[in-house]
Symmetry: C2
Subunit: 384 residues, 2 copies
């Protein structure tokens, strides 16, 4: 996509780097919108900059133009994403840029939505603005993997959290399991939850621990809290598989402000509320997880689902190839060969049925290890 | 131990660093001797240096004195370990240093053998040589953890290797298990084997795969092979628990040059050969592992045992608190909750019976993860 005839200057790279850095400041708040940053420069100096903070509030370009305050004629705008061309909750940014009399717009990437990609660029070009696309495109894509996936596929980006001992156990044979991972690992989980559009779990998990599955602001790392005041906290939706309709309104789940979306079977007579979702049951009587995710993306605009599940639900997500990224916490413990396994995969008969992963990152989180992996080949052992 | 009245100079640190670096060149070959390096300096310049390469061959000091060739009067010798004071296979180094007319000797650490510690230093001091001890002592100790442990406790340093999938399995339910870890991980194992004084396993493991348990020179990393020619290869002893006397001389175990030590029960009528060891059986009829290790250290001068065992033997070593370091390879695979567990610990009833580890190092080895951990608290679940 990079414009070969007009190679970018070192100054262009600096400005787009800055815009990408700004965009990152929105990662806890912009959902379901993408993270976008914008820098406006003139005569070799930054005259305005901004980033998108929260859906419904101004886009990055508008913040940057406001900061440049009328000095924008002849300037260059660096934007991490193609400016929007449609009237949504805010007027189109392409129009605002045209009005500002900037003469050049550099975009890191096109809009990932195939329905609208290129429209903003065309609108700018038709107004006589020079437009270049593709500067630091990979970095810009890395800002919004979940938004991009939803736009391109109608499915959310799915992270599956697992936590086990070093020998792959979540509980002793007798079920005892409290405090396997460290406070540092639990804090790390809060950071992941805070970035997600939805936290998905089962009513069993909710009921077992009376879990709120919310982001607890005071458990976020100190550096994050400094830049993210408690009153700005965005609670992800909590999506609970509740085929047997066991959730009751007195649970802690309902006491943390965020939306709760219950998932029921399609032919069940339910007290299905506005936010709830009904999906078909599979032949084996389970909720169709593909449909759950698809409806979350298309009906609830959820880009990014963080799954905290027991061993059986985790296995279903993996077997059905619905997981983009595994986040595995391993506590430095051995819990015994008769303990409960972390993923309830069963019945593998040859090694080529094993689930193969690519490990993308491994590091210590306090005394624990955290792996980030994606799934290389899904054996599709058990078709639902 | 550091001499506070005579603080070391920056030049002293440089020289001892160099000596420690030299000492490391012996890590594949000196067993059962320690790794030792020596630098001789005069008027701010190195005039000779050397390291101990192989038991029976000259010590580091002798190599360094030879290299300095008669120019040693008034020089300083930097040695990573207190010079020896006794006649062994070579004459005492303290005597060689006295004859060389060096006027100052700096040792990183005393001899760890409590029977002889300080004797070499005293011999030097009595000859009028200025002696200082403790420069870079921690680094010098890190050269010889196994030698130091044997000298101080009469027990070898024990590393237990484990290899499993990310969900803690070594085989599928049906026993299939070929190629769990990568070629890179298996090469890494060769490097560990090459450093050990003995590789310990069971006759079952040997018979199942007709395993040689030897160091295969051509599988060592290229950089190592360059500095360690094939003809210098030292084969660790292979120590095989063989209570039922199943080993036969046609096995590959006997075809790789190194010594094989079989372990039998004490009251068995055996064809126990010269190198073999008999130990008491425990109440449950197993070979007493503490006695095995103690005899390897005291009767065979083995500093460092590398254990490659199945899940049951691994559990016994861990339960009996005989492991200094766990080396865990984890392949990026999920093999299923009905697969075979990596450590056959059984019957834990509360989380405080779990085996707690400290993770010392975690890194990628090819596509796999390698952890190095020590055991924090041994629950001693099952007394043998």
């Amino acid at each position: 996509m990079e414009d070969r005839e007009h190679p970018f200057t070192s100054f262009d790279y600096q400005m787009m780097s800055r815009a990408i850095k700004l965009a990152r400041q929105g990662i806890y708040t912009t959902a379901p919108n993408p993270n976008v940053g914008c820098v406006i420069a003139k005569d070799g100096e930054i005259i305005g900059e901004g980033f998108h903070f929260r859906a419904g509030e101004p886009h990055a370009e508008v913040h940057a133009l406001r900061a440049a305050a009328g000095n924008t004629a002849g300037a260059t705008a660096y934007v991490t994403l193609e400016p929007c061309s449609h009237y949504g909750r805010t007027p189109p940014c392409a129009e605002a840029l045209i009005k500002s009399q900037v003469t050049r717009v550099v975009c890191a990437m096109q809009d990932p939505n195939p329905q609208v990609a290129g429209r903003g660029i065309r609108m700018l070009q038709e107004a006589g603005i020079e437009v270049q696309v593709g500067l630091l495109e990979q970095d810009a894509k890395a800002l919004n993997p979940a938004f991009i996936k939803r736009m391109q596929t109608g499915m959310p980006f799915v992270q599956l959290k697992m936590a086990a001992s070093l020998d792959g156990r979540t509980a002793l044979k007798n079920g005892v399991s409290q405090w396997i991972t460290s406070p540092q690992a639990r804090q790390d989980v809060q950071v992941y939850r805070a970035q997600a559009g939805a936290i998905l779990s089962s009513s069993k998990t909710v009921l077992d621990d009376n879990a709120s599955l919310a982001v607890r602001w005071d458990e976020l790392p100190g550096a994050l809290k400094q830049n993210y005041p408690e009153q700005e906290l965005r609670q992800p939706a909590r999506v609970i598989l509740d085929r047997q309709q066991q959730l009751t309104s007195d649970l802690r789940l309902y006491q943390s402000g965020g939306k709760v979306i219950r998932i029921f079977g399609e032919n069940q007579s339910t007290d299905c509320g506005g936010a709830d979702i009904q999906v078909p049951l599979t032949e084996s009587g389970h909720l169709d997880l593909y449909q759950v995710l698809h409806k979350l993306a298309t009906e609830h605009n959820i880009n990014h689902v963080w799954v905290e599940a027991g061993a059986t639900l985790a296995a279903s997500f993996i077997e059905q190839a619905l997981v983009d990224e595994l986040i595995v916490y391993m506590a430095p413990k051995l819990m015994g060969a008769d303990g409960q396994g972390v993923v309830n995969l069963l019945g593998l008969e040859s090694m080529d049925q094993a689930i193969n992963l690519n490990i993308r990152d491994v590091r210590m989180v306090g005394p624990d290890i955290r792996l980030v992996a994606d799934i290389k080949k899904n054996a599709q052992i058990k078709k639902e």
